[in-house]
């Protein structure tokens, strides 16, 4: 197979690169990861290693030529290796020969991977597996990658009586794709803490009327939870991160807080940028304004992108516990459930307290259970102990 070597992107806003020097000529053999060419972009010089082993079949971009990112630089023929095609079949061990005879294998058809291209037992086995897989009706080997996700409805011969087929609107279709993609992307785990909200309820009750009068909208519990969450995110940057590829993650020194807002037939997540710079009042205002804008369909693209963490609030509909799906590319999502008065044991007495469950779905690729629990407990502790009155002083 011929593999194309292309100009890599060496800077995020860099669009082209120049060939400085070919380290291999056409016809030369190159090993995988062996440097094949030196390139230069606006600010970076580097060698590029060959993606495969093979023969340089064609140099497409000559030295000193500047080509766009992604352009073909050379073609590498993977089928030929330095040792060249083995003359007929070289030395083959008796065990391999026996295996081949038993399964009727023509050894000249088997690619040897042993030293000097020698055919090993594993090579014969691999060849047999491939033949088996290629045979019609044979069970296919497990796929290395997840199959492409298709949401197209199954074509059905006829619609059963009482069932109607209606198209999903664009928002629904996007949510559907996003949810499935998230499930396929992140290793979801959900952890739950129970939080005593009595402290928050008391403080909110005290100010509820004055707040409504002065600010023109109701103070919900969500801003309190948002404030505690932002505090916890600052202390646990891994929960406020993003996975870039198999080698890297991005950590954020800011919190862009996504708030899931339900709209007719869907869900939209507007984003509060730099939530870490806001006090309770600021968060309350931003949450209120973004929710209004969301329901009015007036959000700009900037207001729905760039979240680093998301809070969803099914509690406003009376939910007890949900296990939310992560809003990609975040690595965690917090669910604020319904607050209920429950009998709780405090010391040796039973008290009536305002309780709530807070599930956190997190990406186990990045976050382990210990960290997720510490993160949740930080939110819990904040909500149970914080005095919010300095944040609300201007209202009182």
């Amino acid at each position: 197979m011929t593999v194309a070597l292309t100009m890599p992107r060496l800077g995020e806003t860099v669009t082209e690169g120049t060939i400085l020097k070919w380290l291999k000529n056409e016809g030369d053999f190159v090993d995988k990861d062996e440097n094949i060419v030196e390139i230069s972009t606006a600010k970076v010089e580097t060698e590029i290693p060959s993606p495969v082993s093979g023969r340089v079949a064609k140099i497409v971009a000559p030295e000193d030529e500047t080509v766009p990112v992604g352009a073909e630089l050379a073609l590498i023929d993977e089928t030929t290796t330095e040792t060249g095609p083995a003359p007929a079949v070289g030395f083959v061990s008796p065990i391999v020969r026996k295996l081949a005879r038993e399964h009727n294998v023509d050894l000249s058809q088997v690619t040897g991977t042993g030293s000097g291209g020698r055919i090993t037992k594993q090579d014969v086995q691999r060849y047999l597996d491939m033949q088996k897989a290629a045979a019609p009706g044979a069970p296919k080997p497990p796929m290395a990658q997840a199959p492409p996700i298709s949401l197209a409805p199954m074509p059905s011969a006829e619609v059963p009586l009482g069932e109607r087929i209606v198209p999903m609107n664009i928002l629904r279709r996007e949510i559907a794709q996003h949810m499935v993609r998230s499930r396929h992307t992140s290793a979801h785990v959900t952890g739950i803490v129970e939080v005593d909200m009595t402290n928050v309820v008391k403080q909110r009750d005290k100010i509820k009327e004055a707040f409504k009068k002065r600010e023109g909208f109701s103070l919900t519990f969500l801003p309190f939870v948002a404030k505690a969450t932002v505090d916890a995110l600052i202390h646990f940057p891994m929960v406020n991160a993003r996975i870039i590829d198999e080698h890297n993650m991005a950590l954020h020194d800011y919190v862009n807080l996504g708030i899931a807002v339900s709209v007719e037939n869907g869900l939209i997540v507007p984003v509060i940028k730099h939530a870490e710079e806001m006090n309770l009042l600021g968060l309350a205002h931003h949450i209120h304004e973004l929710a209004e804008k969301t329901r009015a369909g007036k959000l700009t693209l900037d207001e729905v992108t760039g979240s680093t963490f998301t809070i969803t609030n099914p509690g406003s509909f009376g939910s007890l516990i949900q296990t939310p799906i992560i809003n990609q590319p975040n690595v965690a999502i917090l669910s604020l459930e319904g607050i209920q008065k429950r009998p709780i044991v405090i010391d040796e007495a039973i008290a009536i307290r305002s309780m709530v469950y807070m599930p956190l779905s997190y990406d186990h690729r990045l976050i382990d259970g210990a960290m997720a629990t510490q993160f949740l407990n930080r939110i819990k502790e904040d909500l149970e102990t914080w005095d919010f009155s300095p944040d609300l002083a201007s209202v009182l």
């Binding site: 806003t13 972009t41 600010k43 580097t46 290693p49």
Partner: protein, 236 residues
């Protein structure tokens, strides 16, 4: 993860090239951990391999009069100037594959951006032109080379640079853009020391490494093979 940081003082360009070459080899062979070298150069013009000679305005005689030499470097980028008052940083860091380079470049810019912002300068990136810019004037330049997955060269931040020296060249080959310095922007002579400590702190934050200072003389000797590598570099 830790990153050694060494302050080398004023060091001539050729010695810095030799030093980096050796340290990159040692880093690639995992004999040394990541490190950041901080230094100043005497007056020097350096050019990358894609140098357009029309971007050097001065004649050889004029350069001799000014006491500036021209060096051919193996870094990326066009012609630039280094000199006293300019904080030069050479990170010798194993970043792995070439797909990492773009993130590394952005992180380097981030270190410089945070540093100048610490001094109240609202600098920014200029899309398509790596470096740190105040408007259309460059405050910090970046040029690097990555070999065997290890970086060398790095950044040059104009702290109290004598900007006259940039008049002799078309910096980075950009005719329509200028050069500035922290001192010029703040209207006072900014000493190198506070900038250096901000760079070290921001470097640690941006790259998420613990910055461990080691004496400059020591890393010079290690780099030139005069003393063996101390195993303690990896400890802690």
């Amino acid at each position: 993860m830790k990153c050694l940081v060494a302050e080398l003082g004023i060091i001539d360009y050729q010695s810095a090239l030799d030093l980096q070459m050796n340290l990159v080899t040692m880093r690639a062979e995992s004999k040394l951990p990541d490190m950041l070298l901080l230094l100043e150069h005497p007056h020097v013009y350096t050019v990358g391999r894609r140098f357009d000679s029309s971007h050097l305005v001065l004649t050889d005689e004029e350069m001799e009069m000014k006491g500036v030499k021209l060096f051919h470097s193996d870094r990326g980028g066009e012609i630039t100037y280094h000199g006293p008052g300019q904080l030069v940083g050479y990170p010798i860091i194993e970043i792995g594959g070439i797909s990492m380079i773009k993130y590394y470049l952005r992180n380097l810019e981030e270190v410089l951006l945070r540093t100048v912002r610490d001094f109240g300068i609202d600098a920014d990136r200029l899309p398509g032109y790596p470096g740190v810019w105040f408007g259309l004037e460059k405050l910090g330049a970046i040029g690097l080379r990555v070999s065997r997955g290890v970086t060398k060269h790095g950044f040059a931040l104009n702290v109290a640079t004598d900007l006259c020296y940039f008049d002799g060249i078309i910096p980075c080959g950009l005719r329509d853009k200028g050069v500035t310095s922290l001192s010029k922007l703040l209207g006072l002579e900014v000493p190198l020391e506070p900038v250096r400590s901000r760079v070290i702190e921001n470097f640690g934050r941006v790259f998420h490494v613990d910055m461990v200072p080691i004496p400059g003389e020591e890393i010079l000797k290690v780099g030139l093979g005069e003393i063996p590598i101390n195993k303690e570099y990896y400890a802690g």
